[in-house]
Amino acid sequence: MNKISKGLGSVQKLGPVLGLVLITIILAIMSPNFLTVDNILNVLRQVSINAIIAFGMTFVILTGGIDLSVGSILALGSALTAGMLASGMDPILAVLIGLLAGAIMGLINGVIITKGKVAPFIATLATMTIFRGLTLVYTDGRPITGLSDSISFQMIGKGYFFGIPFPVVTMLIAYFILFFILRKTTFGRGVYAIGGNEEASLLSGLKVDRLKMGVYSITGLLSALAGITLTSRLNSAQPTAGVSYELDAIAAVVLGGTSLSGGRGWIFGTLIGALIIGVLNNGLNLLNVSSFYQQVVKGGVILLAVLLDRKKAA
């Protein structure tokens, strides 16, 4: 039974992958430009930013929470890093401080949620506005340009690694580290346990508050990482960067089959979910579908995926 039920589980899990394959096939038939190496690398690069954020979102959602502030953390992390670079700081140091700032913003979310006992939706809705406001204050509402011409910083967004765009490499490294954390560490176990039953987890001796703070910090760090990648790619920091990115990230997580009520899900699904969104965006662009309709299609796909998932669960 064990083997069989496990097998059944993996059939269920194949859903998102099948969806991705199906969409890819349809787009490949409809647009000859779709399935070319250049375009695929292009899609992957576009996907990487959302995927990196969505990985963090997976952790948050697995604990039964949500993080709406990721886009604002991305913007503030990006602005801070850009500001430091523009003032001539060593690029590596600037990036590290930028990442740290992201982690701290995430930690602030975690503290508000655990110590302040504020629902994650409300807490991050508030910090989303606060961090965005701080970004506007810091940048005075204008883009920060004239960053460093350091090669190593340029690499992050624009470089290639054996022909693979650097952001994609970043995404894959993040994926493997996070996959490992989720699957192989006590921290990852705790994430699933809290989402499954917080009360029982607490009574089993898990340090629930600390775990949650960790989860939000990781998400903050990843959002800043996405922000820095974006900054390097555009060679500037935009105060309005990352607006509504939280929605794409949540969509990727949900498309990947992770339950919004927590406790169930996997990071591989999120990777596939992000790819589905990326492939759709790219394919619809190639097909010259107006961006207005694109939104309708994207929303429709998400709805369909969730409905199919429901069916299987029943």
Binding site: N2, S5, T185, N197, S201, L202, L203
Partner: protein, 500 residues
Amino acid sequence: MKNTPIVEMKNIHKSFFHVEVLKGVDFSLYPGEIHALMGENGAGKSTLMKILTGIHKSDEGEIDYKGEKVTYTSPKDAEKDGIAVIHQELNIIPYLSVAENMFLGKELKHGPFGLLKNKEMNKKSQEYLNRLGITIDSIKPAGELSVGQQQMIEIARAIAADTEVLIMDEPTAALTDREIDTLFKVMNQLRKDGVAIIYISHRMEEIFKICDRITVLRDGQSIGTKETLTTDFEEIVKMMVGRELGERFPKRTSTIGENRFVVDNLSHEGIFENITFNVRKGEILGVAGLMGAGRTEIMETIFGARKKSGGRISLDGKELTIRKPHHAIKAGIGFITEDRKDEGLILGLSVRENLVIPNLKTFSKTGIVKEKKEKQWTEEMILKLRIKTSGPEQEVKSLSGGNQQKVVFGKWLGIEPKLLILDEPTRGVDVGAKKEIYSIMNELTERGFSIIMVSSELPEILGMSDRVMVIHEGKVTAIIDREDANQEKIMEAATGGVRT
């Protein structure tokens, strides 16, 4: 008893993921009888009832109701026909009021727009509750009630409908003696009215007190049906486990050592006050009292799941500051909670993941889980506690009630606690498994561990405790040595009698 059965189940088969859990079960029920369904944990009792009420579909077999073949596709269908169920696991929506819970899905409405007749529903539910002899305010949120009270709401809900067949899956597991008495009165009344009752319980005394006939299932097969008057305890147990079980309580030879755990004047305003007691090395301290006396709250406070407003706790002469459960665990205290579904288990996770949670430190190095060691230990635990499961990866949600309880028990054996607090440790556990749990308790105390056992089952308190502490309305009313302990003394103290 009339001559035609009201329910007849024939040759029922059911498999989950290719594991056959019912292998051709026959079962018939007559109007006006109370019919016990017995069997070990995982024998298939609940599954059989879920098939009868349309929650599961049988793979093979037939169900006749009042002489006609029926196939229900949902419990609602069955309820319409007059078959009501009180499930083993509570189904109460905490934020809704008692009345709202009782009328859930069958609300009384005004006219075409379906406006709710709230007043009438509140009044009616109050009537039903009064009929059961329960004093609960029907407009109170159900979540504020104790587990026992919530259970009574379910019972009231079931008999409020025009019920001809009433299925009770371990209804008394969370009830106090007084509540059970009330329940039995109600059941007797229903029997007189011609209602047929299927009664599932692991409490032998109750079965012999209230039931007319007993059907035993073992490993998904019907072993036989006996008249209660012509059978006895031993025969039924033998039918259930397939062998002689011997004494119900293993012999307890305690070697009690020095003082180990001291609770001094522990208080929590409005719930309990000035709780002072000690537990010695190798001792089992039984904690008796009525439901709502504050026993669980005291234990939760010791464990750091609640804040105390005063008092001190020390272990091995060292004073402990426990603010969170993990502090208690670190100090060597384990806690088996009374409500396994909400507090004990993470239902969506596997047996392995649940067993390992309090022990993650043991099974990891610098935060990385040692999967091989973990798996090995899990398999040992499954064998040791005889958890009936298809393997370490089965979701605990799909285990039978008693086996879920064994998983909760197993969780804490891994941390090798100096003090293990058990709150209703054998609730819903079959006779054989109970004995295994008692043996484990004996083994632990022989190894020098101390145990606090909160229990509402007096035979268990008397059979296993070295001393009995009785709580009444948040105060210690008696601490009685094993030799002096008896049912009368405990009940007297539990209802507020004098200190002995």
